[in-house]
Point group: none
Chain length 211, copies 4
DNA sequence: CATGAATGAGCCTTCATTCAT
DNA sequence: CATGAATGAAGGCTCATTCAT
């Protein structure tokens, strides 16, 4: 009764997991089918193709991102609050869908070759939110001018790489501890850090001559 | 007369390129050999194995990163200058070796499964630089306390994802322009942005009561 | 409806032929597939592996040997009759399955490295028959004591090598004829010879004092 | 100062070992070279070819067999003594050159495809000895008529398979012991058993009514 | 002669994809 | 729709053999 049938949805879930783990080339259709609990031939019947499968996964994931981000963009917040809300929304997504940052990274690393055109549209929605926050902040004199792309990718890039680095941080944990560093903070904390740094770092310079 | 023979070096170059483009699974040994101008069997003669090849690439790349980063860490700089120097060093690397951020992302996305233990040691050197900057800044009262891992991954993550996103930004250029956004800035500019935001965002709060 | 599907059975036949002719290392999976009338990938689908294929062949062959040998061991025969029956059963097998002695020889020559543990059990059954004949013969005072392993390997070894030597004997035929020797007797005749020699050679020494 | 240079001799030794262990197809030229302590290219320089190498090994081995067998055939022995001497000579060979029975088996199993014509001549010498023993025994009325090929292959086949079966017997030892069978007798003992069985089994039937 | 470095051919194995049932 | 069974097209790796030095 869904937009996509239940089976297809299960297949997409399984595929997202596989693709995130092994990349497009490394993912095996057989494994995806098994994970989804369907026959390999059945998978082909429903999705048609490894490439189409990848595109469908991509589209659905970026749709989810765009949705979550837009929902976080409630009007009436200060720039700092808005950035924090955005970071929190992303952190929630990344926690619930650990394959998301991995797939985003893989896709970008591959030169966005398999990114379907439709998914590009979702990007527009996502970027729009950050841009809106900055624009309002500059209008109200609270933020200094800054390239939206830089700000957006600072936030998103920082969170993606922080999520991605989890296994690495775990392997690194012993050494890090000896250096007095913690490595096991949840993504949400990294999001809060980023929002804070950006808010303070982009704050308009205090107007001189306040005497 | 080199640590690695000329041919092996050529093979590693080719492999880095191929791995960055296709991921480990997607990279074809045949393609690497052709790119390096050697016979496939010759490649095996010199390197032994796809996996060993990958590890060698990894080790060399991270060694280069560690070297460049450490060279940028000249003593006597203010925290802001030091962060800027670090960002600049990374930007230089990423410009000269565009496959570097891609491989780093791929490796992390795969859970650092193939990361050789030796490469982990390089990480320690790299992290150490950021940690040193923060420690000195806090000692001198110029910086507020902050988790080194957060700071480091903000800088590195932002630059990696910015580099990675290049093809995406290009595909996005038309739409972005219509929204009044630039998308084609070089990595160095992103590095400068990150260093600035971090410097201001981590600056110690002005001590009240300075009368 | 068989224990092994028809196709697998055909594959095992083909494999036995190929392994017998070329040894494990020399046998080509492609050739086996072609002989069996299946696609190479199909062969892997059904059997999984060159090594597994070899083990399956081995298991089936030794099972056949054990079955035939046990069937020949009808109770109530004199030692001589029993040995003759055993030899005849082996001869029948070797005639019908000319690859059998060859595979047995190859496997033994390789140190029984690939012999599956299950096949070892079949050996027990096979040896058991010879041992039974000797035991009964000694109980009844018809046979002198003798190591079962020696007796068994005299019979089996003689027949294996006689079968194996067929091409050699053929190449040798001209020379042999000139020396007044026949070389083209069927295995059955060698079996009868061996049974006879063993029966007389193991006969209890005539008790003296027979008045 | 030898007929074959020292190096070639070392290569042939190494090759015999390798061929015995892996068969012709399974033997690796690289491994032979390493075993012989020469460079792979050097091996080719000296021997020319994997096939030629095999033939040379074969020729030398069968020459050794023929020599040992002929030396054992001293005139003036009774048939039983002669067979025992023959068996003993073979046992000595098989003990000193454990690869010998294995190579003989492999070669026969492969249909004697690679057997050089020159080696066939050695066979003639070998067969000649057994034939001589039988002929003299029949002339003197001590032995009944029997096909030389049968007798020869009983002796040689039994000893070859007994040697070959060593690893198998070892794996089988536990089970065998429980069945009250020994499995670890040296080849010499098997040779003595065979000579004894053949001598008694081929003895002329006692002439009736000799009064 | 000895050696490191090719190299073409081939082999085992996998995988995306299709088809008959 | 679901499934077991193909299958063509690679892809990783090895190996016998050859050269330049």
């Amino acid at each position: 009764m869904d937009a996509v049938s239940d089976i297809v949805s299960r297949i997409l879930d399984a595929a997202a997991e596989e693709f995130a783990g092994q990349g497009f080339a490394g993912a095996k259709v057989e494994a995806i089918a098994k994970r989804a609990g369907v026959n390999k031939a059945g998978l082909y019947y429903h999705v048609g193709n490894k490439e189409k499968l990848y595109e469908a996964v991509m589209l659905r994931l970026f749709g989810q991102v765009a949705g979550a981000v837009e929902q976080a963009a409630v009007p009436g917040l200060s720039p700092g609050e808005a950035l924090a809300a955005l970071a929190e929304a992303l952190a929630g997504l990344f926690s619930r869908l650990p394959m998301l940052p991995r797939i985003m990274a893989l896709e970008m690393a591959s030169g966005a070759a398999n990114m379907p055109a439709a998914a590009m549209m979702e990007f527009r929605r996502i970027f729009g939110v950050t841009r809106g926050i900055l624009a309002r902040g500059q209008e109200t004199g609270l933020l200094r001018p800054a390239e939206p792309v830089f700000v957006h990718l600072t936030l998103v890039g920082g969170m993606i790489v922080y999520s991605l680095s989890e296994p690495l941080r775990q392997r690194f944990a012993q050494v890090a501890q000896a250096m007095g560093m913690r490595t096991d903070m949840p993504v949400g904390e990294m999001g809060a850090f980023l929002a804070g740094v950006l808010t303070r770092g982009l704050a308009a310079e205090p107007k001189e001559g306040g005497a």
